[in-house]
Subunit: 463 residues, 2 copies
């Protein structure tokens, strides 16, 4: 069996230096990401009271009456303030005349990071006062009316310095950290890249987006699978590490081309740069060979790659099994991304399972399957899958891309926590809500479980 080393090469290829965004220039980078993709810019102000976003205003809007909603980024004396929304910053002139006293009062007294709505006219900045570093730097807003939508309590720190704080503090106040340019950019890039992957798979190549269960049976050797107690005494669901079984069953079911942006779970305890739940772009095709999967994935990444990054070069470099062994001294693919292509030839070579045997007997037979350890119990746990493979299973192959890691590489983020809206700490905690947490004993009763703390043996006997 061949070793699909091009998969790990793919990621190594991606890990070449990608231009890192260090300057948080609100709006400009995000806009350029959208504009360069030759698509219509979405209507960001449909359905809402604002007429425009703060970040989109340019000289072309001069003279227009606009209504904006945003956060007060900062205020200079009592003469102007900078209003921020997800799309950028805009300068707002605080009116000084008597007749606008109430507007002035609102804009001067609202604490920084308060939410306000202003209406007024887009005007030119006076000559010499343009700010070329600011995408909206040629204009400002002459305000007519203002409304304080929600005053902000004093913050524990300034938003703009947030990225310099400890990660624990950023995770505790995640909703404030999300206002940072970097998090806005990362999450929006992620959303857009996944959307393009969907277009490529679904609209261009006829893949079917199919949701598979996450409350399932534990897999053999599934020591890293979270358990979910059911209301039946002693019976548990398991949160699967991947949709591996389901994607194969879908092929047996004739779905032909499946993909899913799949939530996966792995309980690895304390490990840096891992998350107990993570996301895979999970793909499986019938009647495909290695070359087909390779072309698919090259096309997928080219199509979805952000236009403001260096383009993806295809074909990706490939290596044979012998080459990778000689070069890296290991016969195991890089599994950090959840790609579980495992050589099961030895396990199946002498079995009765016709389909797999046929595939194994062919040169370069592409059999991808979960690793099945020995032992009768383990085989029993997979009997449904083994049975399914007897009932007209088509040859099939697939791949799973670790999305968090991929977006991390594309954005040049130091940690996968920077591309996940609400990540867990490296110990698996949600620091914002204090999760995991204790549960009252009466809520455990319906699930027929009891906590047995390590030091509890005495208490337990007394119970």
């Amino acid at each position: 069996m061949y070793f699909p080393s091009w998969l790990s090469q793919l990621y190594r290829g991606l890990s070449r230096p990608i231009r890192r965004t260090t300057q948080p220039i609100w709006g400009s980078l995000y806009r350029s990401l959208l504009q360069s993709s030759q698509r219509r810019i979405p209507e960001f102000s449909s359905f809402v009271v604002r007429t425009n976003t703060c970040g989109e205003l340019r000289s072309s809007h001069l003279g227009q009456e606009v209504t904006l909603c945003g956060w007060i980024q900062y205020r200079r004396q009592n003469t102007f303030l900078v209003l921020r929304d997800f799309d950028g910053l805009v300068q707002v002139i605080i009116p000084q005349d008597e007749s606008a006293a109430s507007v002035k009062k609102i804009l001067c007294e609202a604490p920084v990071e308060s939410v306000v709505q202003v209406s007024g006219t887009v005007i030119s900045r006076p000559a010499g006062q343009e700010n070329p570093k600011m995408p909206t730097g040629e204009i400002e807003i002459k305000v007519k009316t203002a409304e304080l939508l929600n005053a902000c309590k004093k913050l524990p720190f300034e938003i703009k310095n947030f990225v310099k704080k400890t990660e624990a503090l950023r995770l505790q106040y995640r909703y404030l950290d999300l206002r940072s340019f970097q998090m806005q950019y990362n999450l929006r890039l992620r959303s857009q890249m996944v959307m393009k992957m969907r277009e490529y798979l679904c609209n261009l190549h006829g893949f079917v987006d199919i949701e598979t269960p996450t409350l399932f049976k534990r897999t053999p050797g599934g020591a890293k699978e979270f358990l979910v107690p059911s209301r039946e005494p002693g019976k548990f669901y398991s949160l699967p590490q991947s949709p591996q079984q389901f994607k194969q069953l879908l092929m047996v079911g004739g779905l032909d081309r499946y993909f899913q942006v799949a939530r996966c779970y792995r309980d690895e305890g304390s490990r840096p740069d891992r998350q107990p739940e993570f996301t895979q772009i999970d793909i499986e095709m019938s009647f495909v060979d290695q070359t087909g999967i390779q072309s698919l994935i090259e096309g997928l990444l080219q199509y979805s790659w952000p236009n403001d990054k260096d383009p993806v070069v295809v074909p990706f470099p490939t290596m044979t099994f012998a080459e990778v062994l000689a070069t890296y001294g290991t016969d195991k693919p890089d599994t950090r991304f959840g790609m579980k292509i495992i050589d099961i030839s030895d396990v199946f070579r002498n079995t009765e399972i016709g389909f797999l045997q046929d595939a194994l007997s062919k040169p370069h037979g592409t059999v991808k399957a979960i690793c099945i350890p020995e032992g009768a119990e383990d085989v029993k746990m997979l009997s449904h899958l083994l049975q399914a493979l007897d009932y007209g299973a088509p040859p099939h192959g697939g791949i799973a891309l670790g999305l968090d890691r991929l977006i991390c590489l594309v954005t040049g983020s130091p940690s996968i926590r920077d591309v996940i809206a609400f990540p867990k700490s490296f110990r698996g905690h949600d620091l914002m809500s204090n999760t995991p947490d204790s549960v009252p004993p009466e809520e455990l009763k319906p699930y027929h479980i009891r906590v047995s703390k390590p030091t509890d043996s005495k208490a337990e006997r007394a119970h």
Copy 2:
């Protein structure tokens, strides 16, 4: 506070009779769904060995050399067979001449539902033998080569009669049931409708697709939430019933427009037509009012509605609180679809929470929040959310559509299990894999839990 009765009206509106597909005409309906949407038909044969799908061949392909992969649907004497793939059926002529003996042997001996690959020429059927009921009924395939890709063991029943079997049997052999026209159509329609919703939200209206955690803290009164034991003694995650807290925190984080095709969990024990895990189209917007949400959802359903169904008529009918009370005798919205818009005025009217108070004090203030029961512990469990609302939370509103139920209505399916690839039985079991299942005691140890069966009290004391 107003009662958004138009939400339940929306579903009542949808539940008017939708044309039910009773005739399983392979291919034609699915093709019409694709073609009528004025999109390019996807390239179904990219990356694979086949040149065409079985279902796409027409008179326009006459004379072409094609390679097809599919399942043997049936065989008449030893003269021809019908080959099936996801796209439809095509008739294949079994060669009778001596020189093609090996091809004849393969095609005559392979059991029904075996997977074969054939290559040959598209030819006209003899005059008078066309089948007008079959989309490919004007042509047939003159085979040159054939390969048996995987022989099928004798099936417990015929695929074409599968829908007439008991549901328990269909769930046990789900991978066979998935080959039925109805399941193929339902899952493909679901995939396409969700894709269009994504285009509408993401590409047209600037929503950001954001994944939120499913390993989270239990919510107050969350008696219907599955628990997930962690490796910390006595500490549990909870599988949330909706991303309600996260969507609000994203608004506080300035993400402006969020959506997610969100996996949700609810442990309701044995209930017909419910699933322990289900899917919501979850949406939240900043700076929006009732009218905005209403227009958004009308546009969303119009845009994503399958073109082969009766069109959606907007605006949806609306009713006031007084009207719905007079008509239906209840002040509660229909919560079957997971829409948890709850009147929390009484809970919050006397609290210190400025933002909510402001909203409540306005006429028709649109406050949507999770229901917070009384009790100090419960408030503590939500302290992160209550704190976040103090730090510059924008006014926001949203909606969550129950996707399984929606697709059920659109396809006219009798049960939500017909629009889910791998559903659980009404008792929450996966009948294919026998889930939930027992777990060896040593696998419970890392999670510091023990099973306490109802009849186990004696055994426990002896332990």
